[in-house]
Symmetry: C2
Subunit: 110 residues, 2 copies
């Protein structure tokens, strides 16, 4: 359920930039917005989306609000992706061998 919101949240480029800014550690909103090509309220809205997706969490610090990465959303996406990984590798390998069989044996029909 939460991996859906997380994927949707990470789809936006500037929202990813916001998220990436938290990789180096917790930061306040104004600090995150500094250097980004969008306004501070826009960053607040992005952080709201990231929070609802379980990708970040926040803590009040005086008049500021410090945000940091929440492993929950990240883990949900990873788990969802892993569900495909084995199938993908097997299917892809099968395709390669299928193609080999065709070209090598001269089964091309033209």
């Amino acid at each position: 359920m939460t991996y859906e919101n997380a994927l949707s949240a990470l789809a936006d480029p500037t929202r990813r930039r916001v998220f990436e800014r938290l990789k180096s550690g917790p930061r306040a909103v104004g600090d995150i917005a500094r250097g980004l090509p969008v306004s501070r309220p826009a960053v607040s809205q992005h952080l709201k989306v990231l929070k609802e997706a379980g990708l970040v969490a926040d803590r009040p610090e005086g008049t500021r609000r410090v945000y940091y990465i929440d492993p929950q959303g990240l883990g949900a996406v990873r788990k969802w992706l892993d569900q495909f990984w084995d199938h993908a590798l097997a299917a892809f390998q099968a395709e390669l061998e299928r193609d080999e069989g065709d070209t090598q044996a001269g089964k091309g029909k033209s």
Copy 2:
């Protein structure tokens, strides 16, 4: 570069349903569209986006076109996510300990 398109592609719900239908193995377009609440051309457009993101590949089979999951796009996203994982766990753990210190020692300022 390719993880961006992959994230953007996996953000759409119906596109995820298309992608998930390929988990059980290669399928033709019409077969994928069967049961989905959108038209077949819509599925073709979704497959085009998934293909450009490196998430699926296709092969002609007579008059049909068989699609299957491509591990490339999947791997790119996994790699990008893993980049955050360690940082996220460390930062989150630090937040937990920070909170413990505050509440237990009675440092609340009120």
